[in-house]
């Protein structure tokens, strides 16, 4: 249909705005609940030290050119020494972090809690939207879309001839889900547990292993070529002074 459908303004008042308001309120509620439920994390000694070692090694890699070559070499040896280098991880020992994560009961509980706090509100809201707001066109997307989006965006609408730009309220829900992230970071400050999309991305890439990052740092350090920038600075200082004196 090439003609424009006229949508009732009542839809805007009673569907779009309440849905957004409800999602914001649920997000705020979740944030406070998660703050209450967060158990005091006792950091593991080894993990803390490894984290700091990585930061220090990264600093070394980044600013290697600022220290004399001898000190750089000494530090590199200190990190990647075969016997007791800080970054050196013998091949057999690298524990599989995933197995570790599932066997450690505390961590498993924490993960479960975080996942629950994300899944339950999402499921409930989605069910609510479906129950109350399905079967009608909710909004019109201002730009044209291809036919492939029909299945995704027009779920409640059973007419196949309606333009794909007219979407159901389910798509408004998804839009809000991803879009309110910016709003939450303004309202709730940086650390908010409502960052579902980030967490979802993290879940898919769960190869977050500590020993691997140590090994990666060690390799990076081995690659670095030391090029002492100090002599260049001498010449640059001359130029600066020359300009100053003139």
């Amino acid at each position: 249909m090439a003609e424009d459908l006229v949508l009732d303004t009542a839809i805007r008042d009673w569907v779009l705005i309440p849905l957004s308001v409800v999602m914001v309120l649920i997000g705020v509620l979740r944030y406070f609940v998660s703050k209450l439920m967060r158990s005091a994390q006792i950091p593991d000694a080894k993990l803390v030290k490894e984290g700091q070692v990585i930061v220090r090694a990264r600093n070394l890699r980044a600013a290697a050119n600022f220290i004399p070559p001898k000190s750089f070499r000494a530090r590199r040896l200190y990190y990647s020494n075969e016997e007791n280098g800080l970054l050196y991880v013998p091949k057999g020992q690298a524990p599989n972090a995933q197995a570790q994560m599932f066997s450690d009961p505390n961590m498993a509980m924490d993960m479960m809690k975080k996942n629950l706090s994300m899944i339950i509100p999402q499921t409930l809201t989605f069910a609510w939207v479906n129950f109350f707001f399905s079967g009608f066109v909710a909004a019109k997307i201002p730009f044209p879309l291809t036919q492939r989006f029909r299945a995704m965006l027009q779920n409640g609408i059973d007419l196949s001839t309606v333009d794909v730009s007219y979407v159901s309220s389910r798509s408004w829900y998804f839009l809000n889900l991803f879009g309110l992230r910016g709003l939450f970071s303004i309202i709730l400050g940086e650390e908010n547990a409502t960052d579902d999309t980030q967490r979802m991305m993290q879940m898919t890439g769960f190869g977050f292993t500590q020993p691997k990052s140590l090994g990666a740092e060690k390799d990076g350090l081995d690659i670095v070529q030391h090029d002492w920038t100090m002599p260049k600075f001498e010449r640059r200082a001359e130029a600066v002074l020359r300009k100053l004196v003139r």
């Binding site: 000694a45 030290k49 100053l244």
Partner: protein, 302 residues
Amino acid sequence: MVTKSEEDQLNRLEAQVDNAGGGAWEYLCLVRKLKVRRPDKVLKHGLAILNDSKKRSALGTEEWTLCEQVAVAAMDCQSLDVAKDCIKVLRKRFPDSKRVGRLEGMLLEAKGLWAEAEKAYSSFLEDNPFDQVIHKRRVALAKAQGNITTAIECLNKYLDTFMADHDAWRELAEIYISLQMYKQAAFCYEELILSQPTNPLHHLAYADVLYTIGGLENLQAAKKYYASTINLTGGKNRRALFGVCLCTSAIGQLSKGRNKEDKDSPELQLLAVAALEKDYKQRAPGKLPLLTSALKSLRVSS
């Protein structure tokens, strides 16, 4: 590090508050944010706010942060009664707080009861071995008692775990310098340069240490680091300029017999001398003859 604009703001607020122009709360907040140490002013103005019940209730929950700040300032000024009162109030409000416990430990330190303070801190560390602030308080305790070796030991152990803490490295470097262990101090300054390569103060301190250790290679490295400080501060750092002159003359003295001199060393020294003279002419023209005679003696020996 405090930037110039922040320093100006702080001075402006300080002057305003001293002349009874209001704005005491902003001043205290700024002091807290920048972690500057102004115990007498903080004590005076903080107490004024705390004792005035109207202003106190206007603060709401911030009242407790102010109480903590005033307690620390009171300990700094040795008004231990004021500190004890503040801590008592805080303890009543937050009975199980580690933060208040830390303040109590500090009060014991201020009173000079070293053993009790050490016991308190050790018990905190048993509960939470990763409390960075308590570790640092232990180092401060050892240093205040005069046990520099214990302080170094504690600090080294702390840095073994928390090696990305650049304030700790700085403290360790200063302790080593006070004990004249220059090579270790040089290592610490290298760590600092690695973590903050654009901070000229670290380059300057490192150059000073290298110059003090001596030896041709170190002197040449020191000159390079003075040059990089000049680079990073746009030629405004007088100490670096002096450093360059001294290094060049020292290198000249050491390598008098040999012929391998850097091609750009005379230029750098002459330029540094010229910049210094210009600066002194602008700011302290009375001292200019002193400067010229000192520099001339350097030039003669180079």
